[in-house]
Assembly symmetry: D2
Homo-oligomer: 343 residues x 4
């Protein structure tokens, strides 16, 4: 059976990778690395994995595997990429290190790049928009969570030309798991509970990859709200010319009706008429919906994902499935819960 | 001592009115009406008022008072306004019944109006923008919570001309107390916890009063998030021409430096760099701040209030203070808490 | 393939039954009844089930099935039990209607019983303590959620004789989903958020079934706390004679080491040293752990379950698996999440 | 006007002291110390204090004041007590350093004591049980939050003899602010949200002071639940002989009817029939109530406080008011909110 290892497995996204891979019928987990927790059981850190007979190993002693998932802080992947590619045919990186195609973008949004010559080799790992390039790829860069929600919400409009010369504002609400397992004062429970906090009012780094993938500029703001998992992107589009509702539905259905992980949520009655992160928590699904605001010549698109799954670990396994030629949904058929609090 | 009564006192806003009035040194509470809880102690419904020796009375038996606060559902105030004005020289209505100046607006946004001839008599009750008209007024219409947050955030830009021909999107996040004490499936704890739910994607009624007071159209969307109190308006402004940061500060300081209930939050370090509903919970304060997004020629204004206070009961008492000639801050010096969850 | 139907499928527990059965490889869902939502898609009420091609049907038109799950309010099952048994060889009732063996207990704790002659036919449906009787049973009564947590925590002590003449206090904390989908003022989000509320200080009905199954009296108190799913029982046992820690471990291991759904949590380091509802949310697992309080001659046992799963729908399917002779864990291999908020 | 300073003012309890003192009509704040935030505005850390013209000063440069509040970690007060008493006639310590009267208790529950000769000089600072000794005292030790809730709940029973030879179990639920501003993995929002976590299953240090003040042993367990402020003690008392309900009411009324900060909550109808931390959040009030469990010969007492106020800073100012001869309620008339989330 093909094998997989996870670098940076004690973090939240690393834990999610292990959760998926533990039940993935086509991949066997070889190693889960963590410098801090080396030799301890993965269940010590991830209580949902207590039944796994697996201990964290050192990131220095990587065995050869078929696919290596990198869930390390920004900068680690680019600095160690040769070691990683030595041990694995396919590398899927969950960090931002290989998402942008242009070195200048790393100069502008990050602290530059140490291996810019590899940027043209890597492929953006969101299958819904880049499936053909991911198939067979050996260096895949998973999309950022807020970027993923936004790109999925707006791609049908981009393809339909609605974004051309449009005014475009994206207002994202995201859960506390985005901050990772480390924490800090701002993410302590007393300070983080009940907030609506503009934590990236402008210049959020995901803006760069959204513009790269959609080909348009986007005014982008991210708020912290009181949930643990989830990213919800509300995309306010003021097109040069308003499309018809029928055209929009055609655009969304055309883009997503065959997608296994995208659900169009079309209003109707009841509580759950629009996309909500709660409905997709724990899953690799994205919910997409929209409304026409004729008064203001605006299209409002809602896109909701689990930032840990569709926005990170789930997307990475989805991309690996595509890259290695498995059925795309393999290991990703987790069904969400109802009711559910802030999962 | 001047007297006050509260119609609709068993609701959340009614309870807040009682909380403020109980300690207001210039007003004595005469009656608190509730059909449902008639003759029961107000502490039965509002546990923070257990020490008050006050029982709910029938809305039919109103005594004469100096000021009458109306906290009833939409439509009640317009249908009974003559009775209310009979018993009180000053009526402050917290509902939407007298906020809009044009009957046609009620036709468009509500179910019409039964007393349109009174619309020209009523004054919009947000003192920061309408102080002169409120002084001495006998029919005051308190602003809606989401509208209040938005108007306070954008008024300095409007006055500085930045909104002229701007593209303007306002994305509001609001707590569950906005839904009132009644409840329903969508506001039950299991369904409402941890949500980011687009409950008014388009056509929220507060859009009408925002346009009336600011004089510009606004693309307006309201989300339910997991807090009880609070409204946070993020105003994404794409002006025809970007102002300088210095000009903006001058506009905000000019508008608010003498306002007792508006705090400009100017970034800096620490956790609380931008306006947050948590910081003003329980108070009549508004926090306002902004950022310049030079990449996208955008000004982002953040405005945070307690929807029950500055967005409702606190604003009403503030307006009553102005109307009756008291010191504006009388009874409204409640200081917020830290830390605080989702107050 | 054997078939199953769910009566009362629009409620929370009914939705959980559908969630489990939708992916259960040995059972096919035939009908899901709901008077209120008849003919509407189950996904209207349960957003996690949108992909199911299933509409609610009338409870009056039940087709023959192999197993019928009853998830109706108290009293419905006893009044209609003949109809239910007519259409299904095996009936699993999630209500309290057939949990108690003695009619007098229904007189004391409920409003009596309309079919007392059936009480001797029904079996208490918690497999860990009643597996033999459930196998082949045709009327199974699933245990109450708070009772299940308590019984699982204390059974090893009961079997070891530690409860004989002990003083026994059980303090339960439970989530808002226990109140069901209906809601009401006390379970509205503004009133229910952030509470520690003694909602059953004494005389909680689950006390009756705990005493029936454990054979001892228990001082029982249930608190509402701010989570959606979960029940956590803290069992304070003051035995006549303190057992040794080794004896206790032997008792717990003896009772549970072969149980597929019980995890012993044994302290150690890290955050998750004791049982927590978060760790088992969405799953059919129970976490059990204990501490010795030598200062006070007390054994403290902690037991955590998901009230919707191990405390309701999961237990019911587990019992059905036993009753029908399937592998016990069939359809119940859902793995929990980490991190997770208040799932 | 008499003066006061706060040592350790950047922490949560220190911030609460500043909040109270800022509006205290008999005390003027002289200094607020913080090594970490020296020279920064107190509003940087405590957003509710932005209007104060006060900067943190060094703990080394204390000016003479009338009363000095110590809000430092355990061990600081005992090591520096001479410096503190040099600058202030009255010292009120919020830590555990001077709560216990016996040095042996510090050996057993803490890491010993460096100034045991002072233990006989200090007085336990809970006015409801120690008013006479606090009056005029110069070294006051405020009670622990969980201990305060427990002692207030059980004192009437102790005085009535109901605790003699009783079996006594106290199960406490507490909010995340108890952990202080520091944080750590367990108190990060993703890990702390939605928990019911036994964080002190046995041997919580407050057990020592409860036993000291009540004169009886108590089986004590503390759980973390999802709120920020609040401590709720459920006291399960199995007396040797059950008292009558009338006798109990007499005991509680006798103890508390003249107490300005204790409210007896007597059941009745509505949502708020029992003590809840939500109802007292932000205030110095305690809510106390009880039920008789005749089935199990048990009295269940509920006691709810705000751990930051009645359990810490509020109690300290209350004690200072008593010590300095002010009216007891001075500066402590803050009224709670309704509705309120997890304040």
């Amino acid at each position: 059976m093909p094998t997989a290892s996870v670098v940076g497995a004690s973090g939240f996204a690393g834990g999610e990778l292990l959760r998926i891979l533990a039940d993935h019928p086509e991949l066997r987990v070889e190693q889960a690395t963590s410098r801090q927790y080396e030799k301890r059981s993965v269940g010590t850190v991830h209580p949902n994995l207590r039944d796994l007979d697996l201990r964290f190993s050192s990131p220095e002693d990587l065995d050869d595997v078929d696919v290596l998932f990198l869930s390390a802080p920004h900068g680690v992947a680019m600095d160690h990429i040769d070691e990683y590619r030595d041990v694995a045919d396919t590398v899927v990186d969950l960090s931002a290190d290989f998402r942008l195609q242009e070195e200048t973008q790393y100069d502008e949004w990050y602290d530059g790049h140490t291996r810019p010559e590899l940027l043209s080799e890597s492929v953006y790992g969101l299958p819904e928009i880049n499936r053909e390039n991911i198939a067979g790829a050996d260096l895949v860069a998973g999309g950022g969570c807020n970027a993923t929600a936004t790109i999925l919400g707006l791609t049908p409009l981009a393809e339909a030309g609605v974004l051309d010369d449009a005014h475009l504002t994206v207002d994202v609400k995201v859960g506390s798991s985005e901050g990772g397992a480390g924490g800090g004062a701002a993410s302590s429970h007393p300070e983080r509970s009940g907030v609506v906090r503009p934590y990236a009012p402008i210049s959020h780094r995901h803006e760069a990859e959204i513009q790269q993938e959609l080909g348009v500029s986007v005014s982008f703001t991210v708020h912290a709200v009181d949930m643990v998992r989830g990213a919800s992107a509300t995309c306010h589009v003021h097109p040069e010319e308003m499309p018809s509702k029928a055209d929009l539905w055609q655009a969304f259905r055309g883009a997503y009706e065959d997608e296994p992980f995208v659900d169009l949520v079309s209003g109707g009655g009841g509580v759950y008429r629009y996309p909500e992160p709660k409905s997709v928590a724990g899953t690799n699904r994205a919910e997409i919906g929209f409304e026409m605001d004729e008064r203001n010549d605006r299209v409002v698109v809602f896109s909701a994902i689990d930032n840990m799954m569709k926005g990170s670990a789930g997307q990475a396994v989805h991309a690996a499935n595509v890259a290695l030629g498995f059925d795309e949904t393999t290991g990703l058929d987790y069904r969400g819960l109802h009711p559910v609090g802030s999962p």
